[in-house]
């Protein structure tokens, strides 16, 4: 009986290709939309998380000023000293390393290529705190730091702009008013949500202070990069550092902090939650499109209900039972929904693979959303395809035949 119903249903689909096509189209677009949006949304979440974790190992950044992001808030606020960094790493338990950082924006020139680059003066532990790896050459050493050697390590963006694809190691470039030898090239980290991390030149703090800035404020540093040991509670650590810094900066209990601590782990969690929210939002939008597809199917079914009701009347009159007729319609609805659903899954796979490359997020095939989208589409198709048929099959054959 099932095979019979299947044969009849397939024959009916073949006879009404336009109707079948429109039915399949609704499901097809709905399924493809929901899978693509959810998969790409999850890829984006993963990409953001990966880039944040690229920023550094349990990284805390200490900056002057009341809040992060606002430059004016730091005006007139004292900077830190190298001593602050030393004392933090010595006095607070659970800290792996702390590096003083002085940043400057200076013109860099190699042959006829010139550009403005962000220069970071720091100590060798900075590389480990910020998870930088070498592609070529070496990092600068403690000895370079002590002697204030004019050496630097450059990011991939700087390399591309100044050297093209040439190997920069061993070459001297001009930074500001001093010549500086490139001793290392960093492995690219890529575009993060927070700008191009590879647009950087890193050199010994002493060299930056003595050779490039050389003013009375040269011993100030404008941030301290701190990495916590694995498994250390970040919140407790922030509390301890805050207390220490308040003491060192002579803040009275009624004064607000004139520095702030930027915790990448927290940011990672916040950003992760935000992208997850976006994914859910996109999924909701895609769900609506699936529903609209379903309503489209319902419309097609309702438009053809007169013809189909007469058809049901004919089938009943020549001796089909109501059950056989319903089975036929059920098989028809299931077949169309499945064809649409599978085609949608295929399209979504292609779209995800292509778009993931274009917007540079990882593409992970998500079985769960594929199954959910497919089952939902099948349910919609069956519901809308089957319900009008069920009503018709309940009629007396003669009433179905006379349906206008």
């Amino acid at each position: 009986m099932i095979w019979n119903a299947l044969a009849i249903a397939l024959r009916e689909i073949g006879r009404n290709l336009t109707r079948a096509f429109l039915t399949v189209l609704g499901i097809f677009i709905g399924v493809a939309a929901i899978i693509t949006m959810v998969t790409l949304g999850q890829g984006a979440t993963l990409a953001v998380k990966a880039q944040i974790s690229n920023l550094g190992n349990n990284l805390l950044t200490l900056r002057p000023g009341a809040g992060f992001g606002s430059r004016t808030a730091s005006a007139g606020v004292p900077h830190f000293t190298e001593k602050d960094a030393t004392i933090i790493s010595e006095q607070i338990a659970g800290i792996a390393a702390a590096a003083p950082v002085r940043t400057a924006s200076l013109s860099t020139i190699y042959l006829q290529n010139a550009r403005l680059s962000a220069i970071t003066g720091t100590t060798p532990v900075y590389f480990q705190i910020n998870k930088w790896n070498l592609a070529e050459g070496r990092f600068f050493s403690e000895a370079d730091l002590r002697s204030g050697a004019a050496v630097c390590v450059i990011g991939n963006t700087v390399r591309t702009e100044l050297f093209g694809s040439d190997n920069p190691v061993g070459v001297k470039i001009r930074i500001g008013k001093a010549a500086c030898e490139v001793i290392g090239l960093l492995v690219p980290k890529g575009q993060a949500g927070m700008g191009d991390q590879d647009d950087t030149i890193i050199m010994p703090l002493s060299a930056l202070q003595r050779r490039l800035i050389g003013k009375n404020s040269s011993h100030d540093i404008n941030q301290i990069s701190i990495s916590a040991q694995d498994g250390v509670d970040g919140t407790a650590l922030i509390t301890e550092i805050t207390a220490l810094m308040r003491q060192r900066r002579n803040l009275q209990p009624n004064q607000d902090n004139n520095f702030n601590i930027f915790d990448t782990r927290q940011i990672a969690e916040t950003l992760g939650a935000t992208t997850q929210l976006m994914t859910m939002l996109l999924a909701a939008v895609a769900g609506v499109s699936l529903l609209v597809g379903g309503i489209g199917i319902m419309n097609i079914m309702l438009v053809s209900v007169t013809e189909r009701t007469r058809e049901i009347g004919i089938r009943l009159a020549i001796g089909a039972t109501a059950r056989e007729v319903l089975l036929q319609f059920l098989v028809e609805a299931v077949t169309l929904s499945c064809v649409g659903g599978l085609a949608g899954i295929l399209l979504a796979f292609g779209l995800c693979a292509g778009l993931a490359k274009i917007i540079q997020v990882p593409f992970n095939f998500n079985l769960q959303i594929n199954v959910i989208a497919f089952l939902f589409s099948a349910a919609v198709g069956v519901l809308f395809g089957y319900t009008p048929a069920r009503r018709a099959a309940r009629l007396n054959p003669i009433d179905a035949l006379r349906h206008e």
């Binding site: 019979n4 009404n16 058809e311 001796g319 089909a320 007396n396 035949l401």
Partner: protein
């Protein structure tokens, strides 16, 4: 389903059919007693609204009576459920309608095969029987034509082929020539007569056309839901 030898093919006692309820109720059949033997060719006549089509729908198990008894080959039809009535139609009854009621966009062959499909006949036998039925109604060359490609008379002959392909014991025809011109009317009625004489199929024709009724050997006249006359022709 073997009938007791003494049972007539169709036996109605006090059959009524009411549409609607309360004040809006309309009694289409007001108590019909009728007996039809196997092999008869009966014309049911009457003016519009007399209840003749209602009577035929009830006889053909397409509609259910409100009260009274209906025995088909000794089976009490009014006690059957929907499913059992479907099976009775499948195995014993054939229908021809005024509007042909063929499946659209479907070839003559597929239309005629349809009742066999529900009987579970194998593909090969289905094809052979459908071709034979279409040949017997004079359409051996129109196997692949869809209803839209056929004339009214040809469509009605396809419908007749569909009705007789299962070799039913009774063929019900509701105004079978209502949409046809006089020449094709003659063709269709001669075809029904031949089926009645050659194959012994009982034929019931509902019509308001006196010419059509002349092909039948018995004429039942219905008026206002009651039998007014019942005349057999010698």
């Amino acid at each position: 389903m073997n009938p007791p030898a003494a049972s007539p093919l169709i036996e109605l006692r006090g059959l009524t059919k009411t549409y609607g309820v309360g004040d809006a109720a309309f009694q289409a059949l007001k108590g019909i007693d009728l007996t039809i033997q196997a092999g008869e060719f009966v014309a049911i006549m009457g003016p519009s609204g007399s209840g003749k089509s209602t009577l035929m729908n009830v006889l053909g198990c397409l509609d259910t009576p409100t009260a009274g008894s209906y025995h088909y080959q000794g089976i009490a039809v009014e006690t059957l459920n929907t499913n059992e009535r479907s099976l009775l139609r499948r195995y014993a009854l054939g229908f021809v309608f005024q509007g042909f009621n063929l499946l659209a966009r479907t070839s003559s062959l597929d239309n005629v095969e349809l009742p066999l499909l529900y009987r579970g006949v194998s593909r090969k036998d289905r094809h052979a029987q459908a071709v034979a039925a279409l040949t017997s109604v004079g359409l051996p060359t129109k196997l692949r034509s869809t209803p839209a490609e056929l004339s009214g008379g040809q469509q009605q002959r396809v419908a007749i082929a569909r009705a007789i392909v299962t070799e039913p014991s009774t063929l019900f025809a509701d105004e079978p020539t209502g949409n046809l011109d006089s020449v094709t009317t003659g063709d269709v009625m001669e075809l029904l007569t031949r089926l009645n004489l050659d194959r012994g199929i009982t034929v019931l024709v509902v019509t308001h056309d006196d010419h059509v009724a002349t092909f039948a050997r018995r004429t039942v006249l219905i008026k206002d839901g009651l039998i007014e006359s019942d005349v057999a022709r010698s």
